[in-house]
């Protein structure tokens, strides 16, 4: 099993460096939940279908991320507090090339 390191800044501004497995088909939203870095019920409300934007995050590092799907793009067009570097955590799957990724959780709405 290969793990990568990801830095997550939670909604209180606290920085966490966590290990994320690349072989479990997990996404960023699920990593946040598995480390309980945001209260249950405030993240991943739709379960990861790009349908609620509760897992919106800001990508701080320069990693090349998978291209945004139509669904993710449109969901972000209706989300709040959206910035240039906004993505939905549920649409970013943990892969080796994301080692060292740094993200910040968007505020809860």
């Amino acid at each position: 099993m290969t793990d990568i390191k990801i830095t997550i800044i939670d909604r209180q501004g606290i920085k966490h460096e966590v290990d994320a497995p690349t072989d479990m088909n997990m996404n960023l939203m699920e990593i946040v939940r598995s480390y309980e870095l945001a209260p249950e019920g405030t993240i991943g409300i739709c379960g990861g279908m790009a349908m609620c934007a509760s897992c919106q995050c800001y990508v701080l590092s320069g990693h090349e991320l998978p291209e945004m799907s139509y669904d993710e793009d449109l969901m972000l067009s209706e989300a709040f507090n959206v910035k240039e570097n906004s993505r939905l955590g549920c649409q970013i799957f943990i892969k080796e090339e994301l080692d060292g990724l740094e993200i910040e959780l968007a505020p809860e709405v």
Binding site: P39, E40, G41, C46, M49, S77, E78, N81, V82
Partner: protein
């Protein structure tokens, strides 16, 4: 006053299936849901998504699952209070409960089963700092009565079906309709997008895109909204601002019912029957939490089944009962219908 045996709060898959299990025990159910239709998230958020982990269904659309559940519980004639949110609960001396909705509808039952999922669906409010000052003074998140907007200047924001559909609908009623959206693309149904385009071409809807409402101005009510379009920021006079950004679930008033809350969910004392810290109130499905909890529809079905057995014992403490298979007992509806396995015919061969 609506009277029932088990009052179920939340008409999602777990709440609906509880009606079936209760029905087998001859208990009547009534459901309350804040949404105008049954099905919870399955109907509201992802009706067209396939679910692959419902036992016995290799694949079923969430919307079809709800349709099937509604059909399955039909013989047990459940009552529904839809479009109303359960707001307050009162425990009577005999241990029964009265639950009142925000519209004042009262329900009386010896058992309350909360199957509220992640909570009741409430409008998502845009993060405009002073927006709460203008709520019901020009800012509405839900259109209750379109006539309210007759001859008014209305600004709608959002890019989904409800923003598009209401913009279209209000053009015949309001004095002016302006639709503000952050993108040029809209997420709604193609027909609605085309209709808005047509109304825009006719000058009946003003479209401001890509733009965002970032501020609200007014003394005793809304007078202007502040719109940011690219680098440009300008004010626009209006009587009403209606942000339509969909719904998101919030635990809401249930959190103040004296129930133990943990991780935005209701803690249940045990997994024998999913009763809460208040005897007679149960929590089933995604709304509850206990060690090992998984928020899965199939787990909700199991929890609903155990809850009903416990509820029966609570209502009839002196009655003996053993669980019966539907293959043996069939399904006897409250409507007089009866489904049962066909009896084998014995015929001798001469």
């Amino acid at each position: 006053m609506i009277k029932t045996d088990i009052l179920i709060i939340g008409a999602g898959p777990t709440g609906l299936f509880a009606v079936f299990e209760a029905g087998l025990l001859k208990l009547k159910c009534h459901l309350i849901d804040a949404l105008p239709q049954a099905g919870g998230q399955c109907s509201e958020i992802y009706p067209k998504k396939p679910i692959y982990d419902i036992p016995g269904f290799p694949e079923v659309l969430a919307g079809d699952l709800v349709t099937n559940l509604m059909k399955q519980i039909e013989p047990f004639q459940p009552g529904f209070t839809l479009g109303e949110r359960a707001d307050t609960i009162e425990k009577l001396e005999d241990g029964s409960f009265i639950v009142t909705t925000e519209k004042g509808t009262k329900h009386h039952a010896p058992i309350v089963a909360i199957a509220g999922g992640l909570g009741s669906f409430e409008p998502r409010k845009p993060p405009i700092t002073n927006i709460s000052d203008f709520e019901d003074k020009g800012v509405e998140y839900i259109i209750r009565d379109p006539e309210f907007y007759r001859n008014k200047n209305v600004i709608i924001s959002g890019g989904g079906d409800s923003a598009l559909d209401w913009s279209i609908f209000l053009t015949d009623i309001a004095k002016s309709v302006t639709l503000v959206h952050r993108r040029n693309e809209f997420r709604g149904a193609l027909d609605s997008v085309e209709k808005v385009q047509e109304l825009k071409n006719l000058g009946r809807i003003e479209l401001i895109t890509p733009a965002e409402v970032v501020g609200l101005v007014g003394n005793n009510g809304l007078e202007e909204v502040v719109i940011k379009q690219g680098a440009e920021v300008f004010n626009r006079e209006c009587d009403h601002f209606i942000p339509l950004f969909g719904l998101s679930p919030k635990l809401g008033p249930i959190a103040d019912w004296g129930l133990e809350i943990e991780k935005n969910a209701i803690k249940v004392d045990n997994t024998l029957d999913y009763q809460t810290n208040i005897p007679g109130i149960y929590a089933i499905g995604d709304v509850n939490t206990y060690p090992g909890k998984l928020k899965l529809i199939l787990c909700g079905f199991h929890e609903a089944t155990l809850m009903c057995q416990s509820a029966y014992q609570r209502i009839f403490p002196d009655k003996r009962y053993v669980m019966k298979y539907t293959t043996v007992g069939g399904v006897e509806g409250f409507d007089g219908s009866k489904k049962e396995a066909p009896k084998a015919v014995i015929k001798s061969i001469d």
